[in-house]
C-alpha cells in the first residue's frame, strides 16, 4: 500500500517534471537550428526548411502531444541535432555518471562519517573545530575551481591520476573527490548534529549505567542511531551529485548525462533534455524510494509503523 502509493505519486512527479521542463524549454527563445546552421551563411528559407524538418516550428500542444505519444510508446525520440536515438545516448552516457555519482557518494559518506563522528565525539575540542572547518571548506569552494586545482596538482604536476576521460577507476579518483568533498561537508554537519542529538538522548545514560565503554557507547550505539537521519541525506545527496555532474563532467572531460544535458539545454535539443530529465528524475525518485525503504531496514521504529 505504502510502496504502491509512493510509486504512484513518484510517477505523477515525473510526469509533472516532464511537462514543466517541456514548457520551460518551449518558452526558451531560439531552437536547435541555432547551433546547426549559421545564419550569416544560410538563407532564411533554408533555415525555415530545417525548422520544419525538425518540427520545431509547430505550436506547443502539437509538439507536446507528439512527444507524449512517442513517450507512451517507449520512444524517447531522437536528438534533433544528430538524430541519435535519445535512449541510446542516455544509455551510453549513463554508466559513467552512475560510476561518478556512486564514487562521489562513497567519498562523501566516508569522509563525512569519519569527520562527523570525530567532530561529535570530541565536541568543542580542537578535533571538532578542525573537522568542521574541513567540512565547511568542502561546501564553500566552487566545484569547478577545486576540480581544476586538483587536476593541476594531481594530474598535470604529479601525474598520479589522469585529468580526463571516463574509463577505468583512475579517471574516477579526481572527479569523485571533487564532488565527494561537497557532499562530505553536508554529511559532516548532519552526522555531527544527529550524533549530538543522540548523545543527549536518555538511553545514553542507560548504556553507560550498564558499564559499557565509551567506545561501545559512541561507535556502536550513538553512531548507529545517528546514521539513520544521515541516510535521508543520501537521497538528497544523490540529487546534488547528479546536479554536480553538469559541472564536474565538463571539468574532467568525462562522459555522462550531466554533459549531454548541459549541451542539450544550450542547444535546445528537446528530446535529449526530456530524456535526460526523465532519467535523472527516475533515478532521484528511485533513490529516494530506496532510501525510504532502507529506512525501515535500519530503523526498527519505521519498520513498525510502515
Amino acid at each position: 500500500m505504502y510502496i504502491a502509493g509512493r510509486i504512484l505519486s513518484s510517477l505523477l512527479v515525473i510526469a509533472g517534471t516532464l511537462v514543466l521542463v517541456f514548457a520551460i524549454l518551449y518558452v526558451l527563445p531560439g531552437d536547435p537550428t541555432d547551433s546547426m546552421i549559421d545564419p550569416s551563411v544560410a538563407t532564411a528559407e533554408q533555415i525555415a526548411n530545417l525548422k520544419h524538418q525538425l518540427g520545431v516550428d509547430q505550436p506547443f500542444y502539437i509538439q507536446f502531444i507528439r512527444y507524449i505519444s512517442d513517450m507512451a510508446r517507449g520512444d524517447f525520440g531522437n536528438s534533433l541535432l544528430n538524430s541519435e536515438p535519445v535512449l541510446d545516448k542516455i544509455l551510453e552516457h549513463f554508466p559513467a555518471t552512475l560510476a561518478l555519482t556512486a564514487a562521489s557518494a562513497l567519498v562523501s559518506v566516508t569522509i563525512g562519517l569519519v569527520l562527523g563522528v570525530l567532530s561529535a565525539v570530541h565536541r568543542n575540542g580542537p578535533i571538532d573545530y578542525l573537522a568542521r572547518l574541513v567540512g565547511l571548506f568542502g561546501i564553500s569552494m566552487p566545484t569547478f575551481w577545486s576540480g581544476i586545482l586538483l587536476i593541476v596538482l594531481f594530474s598535470l604536476q604529479l601525474g598520479w591520476f589522469p585529468a580526463m576521460g571516463s574509463d577505468g577507476w583512475r579517471t574516477l579518483v579526481l572527479p569523485a573527490l571533487t564532488l565527494g568533498i561537497v557532499g562530505a561537508g553536508f554529511i559532516v554537519r548532519m552526522v555531527r548534529s544527529s550524533m549530538l542529538d543522540i548523545i543527549d538522548e536518555h538511553f545514553m545514560l542507560t548504556l553507560r549505567s550498564k558499564g559499557l565503554s565509551e567506545r561501545a557507547v559512541m561507535y556502536k550505539h550513538a553512531l548507529r542511531n545517528a546514521l539513520i537521519p544521515a541516510v535521508t541525506m543520501i537521497g538528497m545527496l544523490i540529487g546534488e551529485m547528479l546536479a554536480g555532474t553538469v559541472v564536474i563532467e565538463t571539468v574532467f572531460s568525462r562522459q555522462g548525462i550531466g554533459r549531454i544535458i548541459g549541451d542539450a539545454l544550450m542547444a535546445k535539443d528537446l528530446p535529449v533534455v526530456q530524456g535526460v530529465i526523465f532519467f535523472t528524475a527516475l533515478i532521484y525518485v528511485l533513490v529516494n524510494l530506496l532510501v525510504d525503504l532502507s529506512y525501515s531496514l535500519i530503523d526498527p521504529r519505521v519498520r513498525r509503523s510502515a
Binding site: M36, T43, E92, I148, V251, S253, M266
Partner: protein
C-alpha cells in the same frame, strides 16, 4: 599517379607552399619579435621531406578537441570542431591550395560552361568508399541531391552548395552539376569538408543515423564515437588519392587517431605537457606564450581564411548610419592594444573585411587606421555629440551609446574585447552596453537589436562578403551591416561571376577599401588555429581553411 587537366591556370604544388601556411603562426609570432620561431620553422622543415628520412609508420595520435562534434555527417554538421574529424573521414571533389587555386582530388579534372551554370567533373576511377562501395558519378549525384533533400536536414552544407540545382550522370565517372546562377565561389565551396562525399550505401542504410556511422573515402575510417569522450578513426590502408595539399599521397602513416574531447582549456593544454595526449587544439594565447619555452612541446597552426573577427555596425541605427560617427569609433578603438593585451601578440590584427589568406585580400589596407582619440572626438563634436557631465556624449538629450552584441561566449576572448572596447570608447564619451547572448538569431538576425555585432566566418572565397554588404531584397532578412550602396552592390555582383582572377581581385580590393574608408566595420583579429603537440608529432599540416590534415603525420620515437 593521377593526372589532371584544368582550364584554370594551375600552380605547381609544392611542399614549400604548404609550409608557409603551416607556419603562419610562427611567422606572425615572429612579427612581434618572439625569438624562438626560427627553431620551430627549422624543425618543421626537417620533418617535411618524407623522402630524406624513413618516416616512422604506425602509432596512434591522441588529439584533444575543445568541444564535442555534433555529428559526423558532413551535410548536417554545423560545428567547426566536427569538421576536424569529418576531414579525416571524407574527401572532396576538389582541393583548394593556400594560394587559393583549386586542384583535383576525387575529381581529376573539370570543365565549366561559358555561362558558368554547369560544371562537368571527371572522377577518379580507383576510389572506393571505406565500406567497399565504389565511388562514381552516381555517388556524387546522390551526395548533392541528398543535401538538397529536406529530409536530410542539411544545415550549413546546403548553404555552401547554393546555387546548385541538379546533377546529371554523364557516364560512370563523369558527372555534370547544374547551377541556378553562376558562382565563382562554387568550386571553392566544393573543396570544403562539409561538401565531402559520403558513401551512398551507408547513407541510405543508416538514414538519420548516418552521422553516427560515417563512411567516406578519406584517409581514415570511423571506428567508434564515445560521445563527449572520444572519437576513434583508423587508417584506411587502401587510401591512395590524397590531394596535392599533403605530401603523403598514400595511406596515412598513423594507425589511427583518437580525438579526445577536453573542453577545459587548462586541462587540454596541460595534458599535452603532461603527456596524456599528443596534441591539443585551440591553444589560448597565454599558453602559447608559456608553451614556447617548453622543450617538450611544439606549436603548430594556421591562420584561418574568410572574414576575420569583425564588428559590424548596424547602419539602421542612428547615429551609426553616419560614416563620421563610425569613423570616430574606428579612430577611438585601439585594435593594436586589444590584440597585444588579450592575445599577447599571438593573433594577427585584421585590417580588412577579409583575412590575408583570402583571395583578393588587399594588403595595402594594413596600418591604414591609427588610433586618434582627438580626431575621433572632433568628428563627434562636429556631429553635435558633446560630452555631458558624466563624460558621456549627448545630443538633444540623448546619450551616445553603443549596444554591443556578441554571440560567442567564452570563445577566443571575444567577451574581453567587448570589455576593452567598452573602456576605450568610454574615453571618447560613448557608453557601451555589452550583451552576450546565445540567441543571436533572435537578437541580431530577427530583431536587429544591436549597434555593433561581432562575428567571423571561415570561407574559401571572397564572395562571402556578398551576404554582409550587398543590399538585401525588401522582404528578405537584412544584412548585418544594412549597407545599401549601389556601387558596392554592383561590385559584389561582378565579383561573383568575374572569371578573370586579376580583375576579380581588383573588384574585391575596391570593396575592401570602401568598407574600411567608410568604417562600415571594425576588423579586429585573424584567428589562428593553433595546436600544441608533443615534439614527437611530425608532419601535421593544415588546409586553407585552417583544418588539420593527418595524412602525413607520423610519430617519431
Amino acid at each position: 599517379m593521377n593526372t589532371f587537366k584544368s582550364k584554370r591556370k594551375s600552380l605547381h604544388s609544392s611542399a614549400a607552399l604548404l609550409l608557409v601556411l603551416a607556419l603562419v603562426l610562427s611567422a606572425c609570432a615572429s612579427n612581434k619579435g618572439s625569438g624562438n620561431n626560427g627553431q620551430q620553422a627549422q624543425q618543421q622543415s626537417t620533418d617535411t621531406p618524407a623522402a630524406s628520412t624513413e618516416v616512422k609508420q604506425g602509432g596512434e595520435l591522441t588529439y584533444a578537441l575543445a568541444t564535442s562534434p555534433d555529428t559526423l555527417d558532413p551535410h548536417r554538421s554545423g560545428l567547426a570542431v566536427a569538421v576536424r574529424v569529418i576531414r579525416t573521414i571524407y574527401d572532396s571533389l576538389v582541393v583548394q591550395l593556400p594560394d587559393n587555386s583549386i586542384k583535383p582530388w576525387l575529381a581529376t579534372s573539370w570543365e565549366i560552361s561559358d555561362d558558368g551554370l554547369s560544371y562537368t567533373f571527371k572522377l577518379r576511377q580507383d576510389v572506393k568508399f571505406q565500406d567497399g562501395t565504389p565511388f562514381n558519378a552516381e555517388a556524387v549525384k546522390y551526395n548533392f541531391d541528398r543535401i538538397l533533400d529536406p529530409a536530410t536536414k542539411a544545415a550549413n552544407a546546403a548553404a555552401l552548395l547554393a546555387p546548385y540545382k541538379s546533377s546529371e550522370v554523364i557516364d560512370e565517372y563523369t558527372v555534370k552539376l547544374n547551377l541556378a546562377t553562376p558562382s565563382r565561389a562554387f568550386l571553392g565551396n566544393l573543396s570544403q569538408a562539409l561538401l565531402g562525399i559520403v558513401s551512398p550505401t551507408a547513407a541510405k542504410k543508416y538514414g538519420d543515423q548516418f552521422g553516427l556511422n560515417p563512411v567516406g573515402t578519406g584517409p581514415f575510417k570511423f571506428v567508434k564515437w564515445e560521445q563527449n569522450a572520444e572519437i576513434q578513426v583508423a587508417k584506411n590502408p587502401d587510401y591512395k588519392w590524397a590531394p596535392e595539399l599533403v605530401t603523403n599521397a598514400g595511406a596515412p602513416y598513423l594507425d589511427g587517431i583518437t580525438f579526445k574531447i577536453v573542453p577545459e582549456e587548462a586541462t587540454r593544454i596541460g595534458s599535452v605537457q603532461s603527456g596524456q595526449v599528443l596534441a591539443a587544439e585551440t591553444v589560448p594565447p597565454q599558453n602559447i606564450v608559456a608553451l614556447k619555452s617548453d622543450s617538450k612541446v611544439q606549436l603548430l597552426g594556421a591562420n584561418t581564411v574568410g572574414l576575420p573577427y569583425t564588428l559590424f555596425f548596424n547602419q539602421e541605427h542612428e547615429p551609426w548610419n553616419d560614416a563620421k560617427a563610425r569613423q570616430a569609433v574606428q579612430l577611438a578603438v585601439d585594435v593594436d592594444s586589444i590584440v597585444k593585451t588579450l592575445y599577447l601578440g599571438t593573433y594577427d590584427r585584421a585590417w580588412s573585411p577579409l583575412t590575408p589568406g583570402t583571395f583578393g585580400y588587399d594588403a595595402s589596407l594594413e596600418n591604414g587606421v591609427k588610433p586618434d582619440l582627438e580626431k575621433a572626438g572632433a568628428l563627434l563634436d562636429e556631429l553635435g555629440w558633446v560630452k555631458g557631465s558624466d563624460g558621456i556624449r549627448e545630443k538633444a538629450g540623448k546619450k551616445l551609446t553603443i549596444h554591443y552584441v556578441d554571440g560567442t561566449p567564452n570563445r577566443e576572448k571575444r567577451n574581453d574585447i567587448a570589455v576593452i572596447i567598452q573602456q576605450q570608447l568610454k574615453a571618447l564619451g560613448i557608453a557601451v552596453e555589452v550583451e552576450i547572448t546565445k540567441d543571436v538569431r533572435t537578437v541580431v538576425y530577427t530583431n536587429g537589436d544591436y549597434d555593433l555585432y561581432g562575428n567571423s566566418q571561415v570561407n574559401s572565397d571572397p564572395n562571402a562578403l556578398y551576404s554582409f554588404y550587398h543590399t538585401t531584397a525588401p522582404n528578405a532578412p537584412k544584412s548585418l551591416t544594412r549597407l545599401s550602396n549601389p556601387e558596392i552592390d554592383k561590385l559584389l555582383e561582378q565579383g561573383r561571376v568575374e572569371t578573370d582572377d586579376t580583375k576579380r581581385a581588383d573588384i574585391y580590393k575596391q570593396i575592401q577599401h570602401y568598407i574600411i574608408d567608410q568604417a562600415v566595420i571594425l576588423p579586429i583579429y585573424v584567428f589562428p588555429y593553433t595546436v600544441a603537440a608533443d615534439k614527437s608529432v611530425q608532419g601535421l599540416v593544415f588546409d586553407s581553411l585552417g583544418y588539420p590534415l593527418f595524412n602525413g603525420v607520423s610519430l617519431s620515437s
